[in-house]
């Protein structure tokens, strides 16, 4: 399993557009991708699961990836968070 920690740096948190982008990206990998916050875990491949995380701006999320392309998936997910989901911060 590969893991990394990221900060949610866009102002509105993990709301509509970022969640959608995140689930779309997760779907491009075979790896299982999980997001962990405050003892809760979400499946990054499920929009409903991601929405239940309630990740506000400033949340520190641990990303866990597992599977054949786990490392590539982790890098891509971290980049997405670091880019602020290409939104104004």
């Amino acid at each position: 399993m590969s893991t990394a920690e990221v900060l949610v740096c866009n102002e509105a948190g993990l709301h509509a557009r970022p969640s959608h982008a995140l689930v779309k990206l997760a779907g491009e990998f075979d790896a299982k991708i999980r997001l962990c916050l405050d003892g809760r875990t979400a499946d990054a491949g499920s929009i409903l699961s991601v929405m239940t995380l309630g990740a506000a701006a400033g949340s520190k999320i641990r990303i866990e990836t597992e599977g054949t392309d786990a490392k590539t998936a982790l890098v891509a997910m971290v980049e997405l968070f670091q880019s602020g989901f290409d939104e104004a911060t």
């Binding site: 982008a21 779907g27 929009i47 409903l48 239940t52 309630g54």
Partner: protein, 153 residues
């Protein structure tokens, strides 16, 4: 607040009469306003909010859509469930038609109650037979029973 607050017959639209996404959101907005006195007169606010929300990125996946928004001037979370038996093109993440819609309206301020509601929905929608059972329902009571049965303990 528990999910039982939502499980009454007037929270269920058994057969959504809608040909596209906006019509579905309109029907859900109508049902929300009818059900919750606090939402009286807010139909257009709700409808426009839901349209805008879904335009930012569809909440549809695995046959289920969860159009949800914040609304000013209300005190508690409100929810309705609508079923579209044939299934609707909802621009879902997996490209599959959406059959069951949970629409959740929550206050702008504070409360995290809506996360409990979303988690409750996630627990139900995660059941592999949920959508097919919901589509087969012929009366609202069956939908309530199904939601009750699949509710996480």
């Amino acid at each position: 607040m528990t999910h039982n607050d939502f499980l009454s017959a007037d929270a269920v639209i058994l057969d959504l009469d809608a040909a596209d996404r906006d019509q579905v959101l309109g029907a859900l907005a109508d049902a929300l306003v009818q059900r919750d006195p606090e939402l009286a007169g807010r139909r257009d606010d709700i409808y426009n909010g839901l349209v805008e929300r879904e335009a930012q990125g569809s909440t549809g996946q695995q046959g289920v859509g969860i159009p949800h928004i914040k609304l000013s001037g209300i005190s508690k979370v409100s929810m309705v469930v609508g079923i579209h038996k044939e299934g609707l093109d909802y621009d879902a993440l997996d490209g599959e038609p959406v059959h069951v819609f949970f629409s959740v309206i929550r206050p702008e301020e504070g409360t995290e109650d809506h996360l409990d509601v979303l988690r409750w929905i996630a627990g139900i929608a995660g059941h592999q037979d949920f959508v097919s059972f919901a589509r087969q329902a012929s009366e609202t009571g069956q939908v309530i029973d199904l939601l009750t049965e699949l509710s996480p303990a």
